[in-house]
Symmetry: C2
Subunit: 422 residues, 2 copies
Amino acid sequence: MTTPWSQRYAQRMQWMSSSVIRELLKLTDRPEVISFAGGLPAPELFPIETVERAATKVLREQGSRALQYSTTEGYRPLREFIVERMSRYGIPARAENVLITSGSQQALDMIGKILINPGDRVLTEEPTYLGALQAWRAYQADFVTVPLDDDGLCCDDRLEEALCAGPKFMYVLPNFHNPGGVTLSLERRKRIVEVGDRYGIPIIEDDPYGQLRFEGDHLPPLLVLDAERLNHRDHGNGNSNGYFRDGNVIYLSTFSKTLAPGLRLGWIVAPEPVIQRCVMAKQGMDLHTSTFDQMVAYEVVHDGFLDEHVRKIRRVYSERRDLMLEMLERHFPPEARWTRPQGGLFLWVTLPEGIDTAELLPVAVEHNVAFVPGMAFHPGGGPSSSFRLNFSSSTPEQIETGMRRLGEVVAEALEQSRAVPA
Amino acid sequence: MTTPWSQRYAQRMQWMSSSVIRELLKLTDRPEVISFAGGLPAPELFPIETVERAATKVLREQGSRALQYSTTEGYRPLREFIVERMSRYGIPARAENVLITSGSQQALDMIGKILINPGDRVLTEEPTYLGALQAWRAYQADFVTVPLDDDGLCCDDRLEEALCAGPKFMYVLPNFHNPGGVTLSLERRKRIVEVGDRYGIPIIEDDPYGQLRFEGDHLPPLLVLDAERLNHRDHGNGNSNGYFRDGNVIYLSTFSKTLAPGLRLGWIVAPEPVIQRCVMAKQGMDLHTSTFDQMVAYEVVHDGFLDEHVRKIRRVYSERRDLMLEMLERHFPPEARWTRPQGGLFLWVTLPEGIDTAELLPVAVEHNVAFVPGMAFHPGGGPSSSFRLNFSSSTPEQIETGMRRLGEVVAEALEQSRAVPA
């Protein structure tokens, strides 16, 4: 008796149907296509020689350790480095609050595993990060969404309404949003922390790009504002560091955008009981993250190298963002709108309603240029007149040529849409 | 309003309560304790210099690629190397049938994700691998078990009875079982493949140790026997390679025992539709396994190094197994029984009924020696009179001293148990 595999899969697989977008993007895999679709860091900035020296040192001095099994929590010196680094941003963590993950994506999966029951709601921005949707669909989450504007998540009645739907948690990308390119204002950060507490709904703060700010003032992470709230609460009762137990924010970050994504190194900061649950989950997920990669990364970053390196990344990405904005002004029709990110890797272009950018992509690819259609970032799917552009991984020449091509494609699409009677 | 985290976790967390055993084993983390508890490969055999040369070569020649994001399926040359290597064992795979995982543990998690609905049954050997139980408890699996004897899973009425309980799949460790140390006989391999087909129940074949055979003849993997069954079915109808579509076996293996566990590199072989589902799941789990580790491993293994290296591992582990068996003969009371593994890392000792080895462990640790109590490997928990010993990661001196200590602890426990009226 042969039972077909198609009849054997778990129900959750129905939530995970293959992405239309991913299929579309396979078309872009030709050398002549200039792709603004990926989310890749610029490979020419990878500190290859520094990594080589670090790998050699780690293997010569601690080779047996680097190649052996290690603890689920992660390599302790790396966790301590992260604690020290995050303290600059006011994040009050101890090593016990930090778990190393196999990229930020694993942190998203882990959060789904420890928090989401089938049918639970998750509150996200709309648009939001595709990888979070992928991770949480596998736990059969439903999504309630609140729109983004130029100051990030809209903290008006729509937020309160979404909170009243009883989501299990809120997912917020405060800095240089993927895909939106916008940054959450200080006032709204405070508001989100306040309503999170008032409604008893925890906040997942995803901050892969926070260190890649090109201009403007650093804004405090939600975690810091939440810790201040708890300090205020505890003031006078002799307690301190309430975050470590009662914190309402789980903070995620990664070395993928500041060092190298190929090493798959991210981290979670959370109150200790949450970290303990994550550790339990991670034991069943992959035992631990690559010992070798953790030790090499520590060797690369621990003596101040990262600061210098991040400054270089900021300078290059900032120039590429400027050039892409200039090309948008020059080549795009006046009906198009776009965000002006203060950092990160992405910007978000919106065309007039009625244009479906998923239909525009194959046309663009014919013209040897690519983007990610907005549809990919909407939990409910459906047509979108927006698309995401990545400015970090293309050279200035590619940005000039690619944006000229894309401008022509967009102008033609708008012309055609005007020609069609409404 | 502060909602305690304890009220927020998903229901599946109740299946994942922290392991008693893990807590007990924390006691063994003192330098004076000789621990036979771990499942570690011998670190003195790690090919550190070869890894160093490989890392340098990869970074110098393909640094940008090694540090960048890569495909979910895994580094293609590594997948092709695995295909070639497995063809020696008669395993009929193409690169499309191979997915690289972040250690075998991730493969177990992934199988849970794509196959297990809450309440589904999973058929395992008893005792079975702790990591599989951990992975699948997170999917709220129930376990039906079939005992092991010296020829592996008992293929008698108990197997048919367990199959009648309608498990979603069977999980089998055919070679040098963890923790049992036994090897599944050829006759039983054929029988399991036959009943798997007859009942329409897929087989997960976990083979981390298959290459570490010290003596005796290689036995064909279940996957090979299943492919032969399908070839036989298709003979004459012009089809071939039925395994690629209809195969009933998913095969797992790893570089953790032949190269280095710290790199977290395992793989799945499965029919292509299953691999596609696994890829979909892995995208949400960690995007992909470390590009750097995959490329370094490929550089280490691809030119025949692994064969030579595995011969060395076999020789050393075989000597350690011999010594441990000798020490068991010399220091253990005649009521104790143990398995005589033909390969792998573990053997399994059984004391007379009534001895609870979970209670024996703290006594052993007081005597500066440790093992894993049998309880850890029983899906239903409960007291066990057996325990697992690892012989790969201790030096001959440690095996001599540790086994003498353990013999005394066991002898004393037996004496006490005889002194207590039944």
